[in-house]
Each structure stands twice: as structure tokens, then as C-alpha cells.
Symmetry: C2
Subunit: 266 residues, 2 copies
């Protein structure tokens, strides 16, 4: 049983976004071993069709399923929205965790005026999942959803400081005078400071990575899968894109030195 | 793997309280097989010491561990507060779920004025867990905790209509003009209508059993343990108390006919 606990948590994302989650998981659960796969070659998922997203996500999940893992965290909102059920169905016996519900649970405790902005990829916004779930919680809330299709590609290029583009993209939300902004794409915490600068200090911005990590920890605890060992976790990286570029950007986001990622092309 | 899914969910409570959860689980997850153990002989747990609660809860959990189960739901707030870690530590490889966190997540979306009442057993209130967690969410909330030590024994006796005692016990809260009342003992939904009558129509009362069931469902889904079969679940009951009394009261709470419970004395 102890062996099971020592297996790795797999995290998968369309690219670099899931690293914001990994950063938080390393902080909160330092003993956990982690295998990360970034499908950078196919990023962003947010402009693709439902079928394309499902196919890519299934391929990524199947690749990780064959590793020595104890659970899969879909570290990508777009894939969580469209491919959770499909992945889960083929992930016999291994837990699959998504990023949607933990962040939704954080919205109401934190939003004061209930003028809630949600930014995400085109595909996530198009699904209307966040809007529907927030209104199901509180029908009197005002939800302003905005697709920001330039953000993930910008971040995939390693461009984290483009305030001009961030301001341009967020203009419709700035006008709405929201009090709360949910980052519903794991890429966005990487540019959170610039988003704050663009949208104004008075708006509470929710990077859901702590909430997701807390839910992951709860899950592992309940499933008797939490690694409580005193050894520091080992990390292993895979990308479908450029390994050197991955290493540079991942080190910037995680704030630690990492091994050269292994290139996986399906 | 299919076999694992068909194993039962075990629910354990100090007595009849966990049946309010079982009622909701039957509604939401009709295919799940359920084994229920009510430690009626030792009810209520809420007046006992921490050590006594831990010992009783561990005994109950160990009894259920030996059955063919896939997960344990601690259907008792008092045992969740004091014995979760201890049970979890000895429940090798089998998931253990508590009733605390799901209900806490529901408080803020539902409470308008943030004048929040919490009623529970002596031991639960004494732990201050709910107060602390609510204030951690929102330091400006007003939390009014009240132990209602007569409620669980009343319910264990099968006395569900004693409005006079319910009013007497709730008087300190009635004076506080709360807008929201959390039932932090699984026994209390059994007398929810009378509580409503006592505290006033304008107070929103939260029976957390739907939230707990939703979280249980989420957990089972993520852990690949949800039974999605089309057969109706089978139910098996154990009590440390009087089997005939258990049957009568359980049928009243669940609204279905049940088999005579098996008496288990540790």
C-alpha cells in the first residue's frame, strides 16, 4: 500500500498552463512525485473543436496512464470542460481530477457585489459551463464571460509582459465594473500581475490553483493516496513541443531547476 | 474493476442521523449498494470525551472495514470532527469521507446577511471547527454556535415533534436574528420542519445532505468507483441497539421498507 502512495501524480495541460497548478502542488504537497505533460505542439486547445479537444486530451491521458501514476489531474480548463467524461471512462481504476468544480466553490465566498467576470479560452466560454454553474448557485449574480483567445498563445510564446494586448482584450470587462475576476484557464495566473494592472486594483482576482490543490489534497487524503513521506518529490517532464523552450519557461514559472523534458510525439 | 464498483458504500453514525444522508444518497445514486451501521447503543456521541468518541468510531469503522465495501462515509459530524484522522490512518487503501467540508462550502453562497447560526452536539460546538472554518472564509461573518444536547437523544428515542423543547433549546439563536442556520449534526434534518417552525420562516436552513451527497458522488466519479449500473442498490443494516426499533425509525426516515437490521455488539 505504501508503494501506491509513492506513485506519481500526473498533470496534463495543453501547454504551460498546468505549471501554475504544479507550482502550487509543489508548495503544498512537497513529498508528491509529479509527472507533467505539456501538449505544447497542439496548444492552445481553446480554439479547437470539441472533437479535436477530446482526441488530443485522450491521447495525452493514455500516454500518462501507461506511466507509474496514482492519479491524473487534468490541468487544463478547456480539456476539463470537454474531455473529462471521455478520459474518465477510459482511465480504468485510476482517479481523474478536473479543475472546474474547485474554482467554482471559491467564487461566492470571495465576490462581494456579485458582479463576476470569467475569462477563459473560446471553447471554455462557448460551453457556458461557468456561467451556468455560477447562476445555479446564485440566480441573482451577474456573470460577464469573456473569451481571451490571444492570452494562451501569447503565454506559449513566452510573452508574459504584453500589457497593451492584455488591456485591449479585457476592455469589455473593464467597462462592466466587475468586483471579481475568475481566471478560468490555468495559463492566466502566469500573467496575473499584468491582468491586475489592466483591470484595476479594486477587482479581486481568483487564481484557483490553491483551491484546486486543496481539493486534490482532500481527494488524496480521502482516497488514502496522499504521500506523507519526508522525502522531497521527484519531477519528470514531457512535452510534445520544443524541449529547450519548455525547460526555460517551466523553470521561470516553477522557480526551480528542472531536468530536460522528454519529447513525446504521438 | 467492474466488481470494485459494485461493492457497497458503508455509512456509519452514532445512531439514526446518518440515515438522513442515506436517504439523499438513495435518491441521487440509486444504483449504489449501501451498508449502514448505527451505533445506537452508544448514541449520542456528542456528550462523550474525545477519547471515547475516537474509540467508538474506530470500532465501528473496523467492523465496516471487514465487509465488502469500497468506501466509508462517516455520517456523523461529531465523529468526523474528532475521529477522521484516526479512522483514516487505519483504513488501509479504502477511502474515508467526512461530512464537514462539503457543508462548509455551502454556507456562503446561501447566507445573505452573514449572520450564521450553527447548531450541533456539545462536542462538535466545543471543537470550534465550524466557527473557525467559517471565519477563515470570511472574517467579517458573524457566527453564532449553539450546542443542542437534547436533540440527538430526543431523535434516538423516536421523538420528532417536540416543538416545545426545540423552541426552548433554540431561544438564544432566535434572539440573535440570524439569517442562516447550518444543521451541523446529521440527526437534525429529521426534525427540520419543527426547527423551521421554531426559528422562523425567514431563516434559511441548510440540511447539508445534498452537498455531502454531491461531494460523495464527485469523489466516487473521480476515484472511478461510481456504480452506474441500472440495477437498484441493495441495503444492509446493522445496529448496536434494538433491531425492531431501528427498523421502525429507519423506515420512517428513509420512506422505504427495510430488512430487519443485524445486531452487532462489539
Amino acid at each position: 500500500m505504501a508503494d501506491k502512495v509513492k506513485k506519481a501524480i500526473a498533470i496534463f495541460d495543453s501547454g504551460f498552463g498546468g505549471l501554475t497548478l504544479m507550482r502550487q502542488i509543489i508548495k503544498t504537497l512537497p513529498s508528491e512525485n509529479i509527472i507533467y505533460f505539456g501538449d505544447n505542439l497542439n496548444a492552445p486547445y481553446g480554439d479547437k473543436s470539441k472533437n479535436e479537444i477530446i482526441n488530443l486530451a485522450k491521447k495525452a491521458a493514455f500516454f500518462l496512464y501507461q506511466k507509474d501514476i496514482k492519479a491524473l489531474l487534468i490541468g487544463c480548463n478547456t480539456a476539463s470542460v470537454y474531455a473529462y467524461d471521455e478520459i474518465s471512462r477510459h482511465f480504468f481504476g485510476l482517479p481523474v481530477i478536473d479543475v472546474i468544480s474547485p474554482s467554482l466553490k471559491m467564487v461566492f465566498p470571495l465576490s462581494k457585489d456579485k458582479k463576476i467576470g470569467v475569462i477563459a479560452t473560446k471553447a471554455t466560454i462557448y460551453s457556458q459551463l461557468y456561467r451556468k454553474q455560477i447562476l445555479a448557485y446564485n440566480p441573482t449574480a451577474q456573470v460577464f464571460s469573456l473569451a481571451c483567445p490571444t492570452f494562451a498563445p501569447m503565454i506559449e510564446r513566452g510573452e508574459f509582459e504584453n500589457l497593451k494586448e492584455i488591456k485591449r482584450a479585457l476592455l469589455p470587462l473593464i467597462k462592466k465594473k466587475i468586483d471579481f475576476l475568475l481566471l478560468a484557464c490555468t495559463h492566466y495566473p502566469i500573467i496575473q500581475e499584468k491582468i491586475k494592472e489592466a483591470i484595476g486594483e479594486e477587482v479581486t482576482i481568483l487564481d484557483p490553483s490553491s483551491a484546486i490543490t486543496l481539493e486534490l489534497e482532500n481527494f488524496l487524503k480521502r482516497a488514502q493516496l496522499k504521500n506523507e513521506g519526508s522525502l522531497r518529490g521527484r519531477y519528470e517532464f514531457y512535452t510534445s513541443g520544443d524541449a529547450v523552450k519548455f525547460k526555460t519557461i517551466a523553470e521561470k514559472i516553477l522557480g526551480i531547476k528542472i531536468n530536460i523534458p522528454i519529447v513525446y510525439l504521438s
